[in-house]
Symmetry: C2
Subunit: 299 residues, 2 copies
């Protein structure tokens, strides 16, 4: 890390365990360059998984998806490498506006899960995912499911997931969020946040999707069909505030993975523990007293 | 965290992802109470593994043990939950001085590995460990091995491992270390550090054991048989210095998991990057200007 005064902090150690003093690394990671500039890093590599199974699953509700996640963690623990929640509307947007995408299941389901299991053990993963889906079907957690039979089918399922964000633009304006809440509260959060924004802007189309396994939902809200885009976007702050109120209820975060930058800088004092915010300012003063590192960001 | 000035930092969030500002948590974790007093924590729980397989393996050398670890990571990835290296002398101490311990293998092997695989998947782990040991035997990485057939046998293997540290005291004085190096350099580190201490104190008995999978070796050195305990312990600093020189060669740590405390405080400036050491002092001044938190420790 190059510090504001030009000194270089050399923290390049390839150690899994090191308890010689304070952990300086995490001060800089995620600080968006406001405390120092990271110029090199040690990365740990893992062997490529020898078995991967991918399933696309129709589920009746986010609550059923959460119960399915818990079942998957119980049955396949460290092998659950993706668990993405997708609402029907997001699938419809992708299929309509990104031509290579197609609906992999017959019929219409209100929610979907894209689940990936990965393992270093070559054998047995297929049986694990089949048993898991069988049990989930018996418990009425899922409506329907398909398991990718080839690399092409796997890619097709991920293509659908990857086209969710960009195909929203063809439906008009969208107000976008990147929030997280404790994993076991995601379904309640989604139901309540959807109700809040629908009350605020009648006819708007919430598109909450993302990393259920991480408690991280991209709570995007697309304008009502045919509405005026600019007029809809005037609701930006109101819609944010309504969603953030539900985030606060569940002790969540208004920025799960995208950071603070400029856009959320003025919101930070309102959501952060006041002592935590003071410590952040003290750290900034300690490491960058003249405010020359990425000025105007985060703090 | 209760801070030196009495303020309370509330960081109790059950989130997997939160990118709202600086990561304050890791400043306090591992700081040995010198920057604040942690009074509460959120813990994440995982389901208990549904399958566990434990093997005790005789290997010809630490280098063979490392190659076996790499093979296990390739074949069983996230399932390798323990990989402990044990020298013959440590097994002999345990069997001699802790009567319930017995040697689980026929014959004498220079080194041993206690390997544990754990999985949420109920089926298949036994076949994985058997295939792994079979391949390792074909590649001449292992001399002999036994897989625990019951919970009692599993406990007996771990008992042996747990009696390594305490049975050293029956053999006289020991100079103890807790060091780490990059995992792939552990075998070279062991060979070189053993040669260094044997040159320094002829007849001394190095007992390097521990967490090969973490690159963390407890490099203990027991006095020569029949030597004077007090006289042997006068070599404490010399033996430390000889081992730490090899640690430094491999860019390792002089305290992998036990921390700095009082005992290693004066060593810290000599092994730490000078800028890192300065930043540690700045953090201490920022958070505890009067030096009232655990005074005399770490810095």
């Amino acid at each position: 890390v190059v510090l504001a005064d030009g000194r270089v902090l050399n923290n390049l150690r390839k150690l899994k365990k090191d308890n010689t003093g304070y952990d300086l690394r995490h001060i800089f990671v995620g600080a968006e360059g406001t405390l120092g500039i990271i110029t090199a890093a040690v990365l740990r590599l893992f062997p490529r998984p020898r078995a991967v199974e991918t399933a696309f699953i129709g589920v009746p509700s986010p609550h059923a998806a959460l119960t399915l996640l818990n079942l998957a963690e119980e049955r396949a623990g460290g092998s659950v490498t993706s668990f993405e929640l997708i609402p029907r509307i997001a699938l419809e947007f992708a299929v309509k506006h990104a031509p290579p995408c197609r609906d992999p299941l017959a019929g219409s389901h209100p929610w979907y899960v894209l689940m990936e299991l990965s393992s270093q053990t070559r054998e047995g993963l297929r049986a694990v995912i089949e048993d898991l889906l069988m049990t989930a079907a018996e418990r009425r957690l899922i409506n329907d499911a398909t398991i990718a039979e080839s690399l092409d089918q796997t890619k097709a399922l991920w293509l659908l997931r990857h086209h969710i964000a960009d195909t929203q633009k063809y439906e008009g304006g969208s107000i976008k969020q990147d929030v997280s809440v404790p994993v076991n509260t995601v379904p309640d959060f989604i139901v309540e946040a959807m109700a809040a924004v629908e009350a605020l802007v009648p006819g708007c189309r919430p598109v909450p999707f993302g990393h259920l396994g991480d408690g991280n939902i991209h709570f995007n809200v697309t304008q009502p069909p045919g509405a005026d885009r600019a007029q809809f976007l005037t609701h930006w702050h109101e819609v944010n505030a309504a969603v953030f109120a539900v985030v606060a209820k569940y002790a969540g975060s208004i920025s799960a993975e995208h950071g603070i930058g400029v856009m959320k800088r003025d919101l930070l004092p309102g959501v952060k523990d006041p002592v935590a915010f003071d410590l952040m300012r003290s750290l900034k003063r300690m490491l960058d007293p003249q405010g020359i590192l990425n000025p105007g960001k985060v703090l």
